[in-house]
Symmetry: C2
Subunit: 331 residues, 2 copies
């Protein structure tokens, strides 16, 4: 049986390009005791991938040149010599950007399809959903009546954060880069205010509509928008740094000039590394699934077909072209 | 009776200059009921003054052009129509840069000279000492065995922070800008490591001598040094922003490019506004006085004579020329 794999061919110098990848065919090895074979159905495209393409180690080692690109993926077990995972099980984990994966079961989790579609287990019920859930609730500690400001709000993490904040009784404000995305935030996600940061003066809108200041800033974007948020903090504000997608393809990182606003606001800046909450994923999956099934929350997907689209699709995460959780459906 | 006053004449454009001030003679008004007259003996020169010279409001309103320059000062009550403060009492507060002050007693506190010299009540037993004490202990929460890194370590706040951290059983590392200051940190303040940031590679010294990383960074300086500290955080690190003296005279603030290191370190960035601990000052004064009198701690002063030196002396805070708590002794 053949495996089609996306190989990291070169490291990007600035913006990620399709040419950073090659597509390779390889033969699938025979299973050893304890291993299982997964036929991958969906590959997740996540902003974190840009960091994984760099040399060196941050919270996780960079992908080696010539190796299969690291990726979250979900699929079905089609062969197993493993006691925990049986043929027919649906699973997800860091299976790589490929059509088939052999795993020893470590770091793999079963997807309960009664909780949601398989693809959701890579989105709102997967790593991005967990990041939103624990980042907002544990790091942000929202209280009813507070104002939550989310950047990159139309993304899978941002839209989930905003919807959870609404459920918790907060006033929710988000930024996005198109009118369609802003409409989605207002109409489908129940945001109170959506700001098109490409066309509106974010600072002025915040001053006008949030004179009480921001109690929680959940940042997916970084850059000057972070400074704007810092300039509008309420007393006791919590800034939760999740990502800085505006900066991942820059050669030099933008440092927030307004960082001392956290001092006068008597607030703090912290971050979310989702892997720290691994043991509590089931709790979050159950809660999010319940909110989804009872219509209190929705999620949006943006799906491309065929693994060969991977090299060109990844870039869409950073250009603002994608709208919804970006996935590749492996044919 | 005549009062000599330092007047804010113009706002600095970049570095503070002597020409931003004028000296004015005025007549002292007669006391109203509830008021007291203080003969000022010491005027404190503090980095915060640079911010007070700007227009606008941060945690406190900027000084108006033509007004007496805001300053902490200490002196003796020489006349009183106030029930709380009697002739002969020693007091300190925001009395302004002048030789005499009339106060209604609000915000004024008595200086217990058994706790330390009057001048100490503007330094280690005053606002800077309180900033060090509550900033380190409440915001930093040091634990024995942890590594505490202090920037601007030879200043009154930094040297006090480092000495408290040593008393609490921490490993203490500080930066300063001259060999004499580094020697002072090692010999008089008991620091484990003192780094001359003008001559040494701070990052390399930290990597070599603190491979365990920094658990608390107490920042008085800001700028690229903050980035160096962020790149060397230990897991669970607390960054306490006290000041950014390297930036106060800059026209644009330096933003820390490494701010996302707080995420991977699972730490947080917070700040200290000393006025939030006003009610607990007596506890800190008693503790610091005890440490000073039992030889567990020392403090250094840098005193200029005569109020007319004020305009030229203030700048020394920002050029690194001062060494010890900067004060003017009013003749």
């Amino acid at each position: 049986m053949q495996n089609t794999q996306i190989i990291l061919n070169s490291r990007p110098n600035g913006m990620v390009e399709a040419s950073n990848f090659t597509i390779q065919e390889s033969t699938i090895n025979e299973l050893q005791d304890g291993e299982l074979l997964i036929k991958i159905k969906y590959i997740s495209l996540d902003p974190a991938m840009r960091g994984w393409m760099n040399a060196g180690t941050t919270y996780i080692k960079g992908v080696e040149i010539g190796a299969v690109m690291r990726a979250f993926a979900a699929g079905e077990v089609i062969d197993s010599k493993n006691d925990v995972f049986a043929i027919g099980d649906h699973v997800q984990g860091l299976l790589g950007a490929q059509t088939h994966a052999i795993s020893n079961g470590k770091g793999l989790s079963k997807c309960d399809l009664s909780k949601g579609n398989l693809s959701w287990h890579l989105g709102i019920l997967g790593m991005p959903g967990m990041t939103a859930y624990f980042g907002l609730l544990e790091r942000g500690q929202p209280k009813a009546g507070e104002t939550v400001f989310v950047s990159g709000a139309a993304g899978i993490v941002g839209s989930t954060v905003g919807q959870i904040a609404k459920i918790k009784g907060c006033k929710v404000v988000g930024t996005a880069g198109t009118k369609a995305k802003c409409d989605y935030l207002l109409k489908d996600c129940g945001f109170d205010i959506a700001i098109n940061y490409k066309e509106e003066d974010v600072h002025a809108v915040l001053k006008q509509h949030c004179p009480e200041g921001i109690h929680i800033f959940y940042d997916n974007v970084g850059g000057p928008l972070l400074d704007t948020a810092l300039a509008n903090l309420a007393k006791g504000a919590r800034v939760v740094i999740c990502g800085a997608i505006s900066q991942y393809n820059s050669k030099s990182m933008y440092g927030p000039k307004n960082y001392m606003k956290i001092v006068t606001a008597r607030g703090h800046i912290t971050g979310i590394i989702v892997f720290d909450f691994l043991e509590r994923y089931p709790e979050a999956v159950a809660q999010l699934s319940d909110w989804l099934h009872t219509g209190k929350m929705n999620t949006k997907e943006h799906i491309f077909n065929g693994i060969d689209t991977f090299p060109s699709v990844l870039k869409k995460l950073f250009t603002g072209e994608n709208f919804g959780k970006l996935l590749i459906k492996v044919s």
